[in-house]
């Protein structure tokens, strides 16, 4: 992958499903639930940026580890991201007086 820096890497549905260990149908379902952020390529097929592999892994871990259903995971993820942002802001604020 020597062209990686020149061209943004996109994973098509099949390679994304392989990378995440999900069934392609499961991927579609997660997209419909608004848990994954796909990008459409020129032909309108589902494509994913490589960062979405980690997103799918987080969804699976939350689902398996805490028995959260997929619809609720959207909320959990939003809240976790918000907490992370707030904590980062707090960290940058605290040393100033």
């Amino acid at each position: 992958m020597t062209y990686a820096l020149v061209r943004p890497i996109r994973l098509d549905l099949d390679s994304y499903a392989r990378a995440t260990g999900l069934h392609p149908e499961a991927v579609r379902r997660l997209v419909v639930l608004g848990l994954l952020e796909p990008v459409s390529d020129a032909r309108g097929e589902l494509c994913f940026s490589p960062s979405q592999v980690a997103a799918a892994a987080r969804i699976q871990r939350l689902h398996d580890g805490l028995s959260i259903n997929y619809a609720a995971i959207g909320l959990v993820i939003d809240l976790l991201d918000r907490i992370e942002k707030l904590e980062a802001t707090l960290r940058n604020l605290s040393p100033r007086h």
Binding site: R18, L22, Q60, L62, D64, G65, L66, R91, R96
Partner: protein, 315 residues
């Protein structure tokens, strides 16, 4: 992996806890230590430990066998009588170790060392994620972790190698870039949570915290320090030496400098790997001797008589 903790101890329940109690303890712990909720590097191991303990204790049959045989229960054939087993073990301990070797035991369930072990992997992963169902999933990459790294101003200024111990007990040698800022996240690729079934691990982020310093105060990349001056240095001007993290610097104090004036040493603050370094600000504080010598007192009295300077005069 250290010595294995008792599963009841892991869940924090008594040995005669009922299923509801076990389930409740498990749910609470798993919420607190889930690697996506708790970024602490030690959380993942606790999470796995809790999940494994629950997998065993939540099933009455495996729980009964665990109670009888301890951590070895998976190696014990199903038809062995617990009382007989206990006797055999006691005998083996005294005689020429014919029983299972205790020393090898700690590794038996070690994640990632499963090759050649007679532990059922399927069992292990089913247990790991808490579900009792035998869902077989693909490999799941590991979670990102976060740990705080406290540095002194000097360490952040110079950067360099540093050994640190993570909350989970793991030791790491990290190279800190010169000029890291407070709150900055240093990414260590692949040092986060393990992925399952050989999937790629997550990343570890070290959040830099710059410790309070007796002399310097850090604001972004700028450093602030106070500069004590004698009254005559402040009035007449002087060139004084001041210590900065980058070494001693010469600072020119212009004549007629009062307390509160900030003198800037451009570029003597924290270095910036991508851009210009911060500045060093020295804030003037005029100090007087606590006790005057006779000579000093005489000179100050002459000055008081001769000067018409009134710092409180309204203009």
């Amino acid at each position: 992996m250290a010595a294995r903790r008792d599963f009841y101890e892991v869940l924090g329940v008594g040995r005669n806890a009922d299923q509801d109690e076990i389930q409740r303890a498990y749910r609470k712990l798993v919420r607190a230590y889930h690697p996506d909720v708790n970024k602490d590097p030690g959380a993942e191991d606790t999470f796995k430990e809790v999940a494994e303990a629950y997998a065993v204790l939540s099933d009455p049959e495996t729980r009964r066998r665990y109670d009888a045989f301890g951590h070895d229960f998976r190696q014990v054939p199903p038809d062995v009588d617990p009382a007989q087993w206990a006797r055999a073990r006691a005998g083996a301990g005294a005689g020429a170790g014919a029983g299972p070797r205790r020393s090898a035991r700690a590794e038996d369930f070690g994640f990632g060392t499963a090759e050649g072990m007679d532990v059922d992997l399927e069992d292990l992963f089913g247990g790991m994620f808490g579900g009792r169902g035998r869902r077989r999933r693909g490999a799941v990459p590991g979670a990102d972790q976060e740990a705080e790294l406290t540095l002194t101003v000097e360490e952040a200024y110079h950067g360099g190698r540093r050994a640190l111990t993570l909350p989970g007990g793991r030791r790491l040698d990290v190279t800190i870039p010169a000029g890291v800022a407070n709150g900055q996240r240093v990414r260590l690729a692949g040092q986060g949570g393990q992925g399952s079934e050989g999937a790629s691990p997550g990343d570890l982020y070290l959040v830099v915290r710059i410790a309070e310093h007796p002399r310097y105060h850090v604001e972004g990349r700028d450093l602030h320090a106070s500069l004590p001056l004698a009254p005559w240095e402040a009035a007449l001007g002087a060139t004084v030496a001041i210590v900065t993290p980058g070494g001693e610097a010469k600072l020119k104090v212009p004549p007629g400098t009062s307390t509160g004036r900030r003198l800037r040493l451009r570029g003597r603050g924290m270095p910036n790997p991508r851009g210009t370094a911060g500045d060093f600000f020295a804030e003037v504080r005029i100090m007087v001797p606590a006790r005057l010598t006779d000579e000093e007192r005489r000179l100050f009295e002459r000055l008081a008589a001769a000067s018409r300077f009134d710092p409180r005069r309204r203009s």
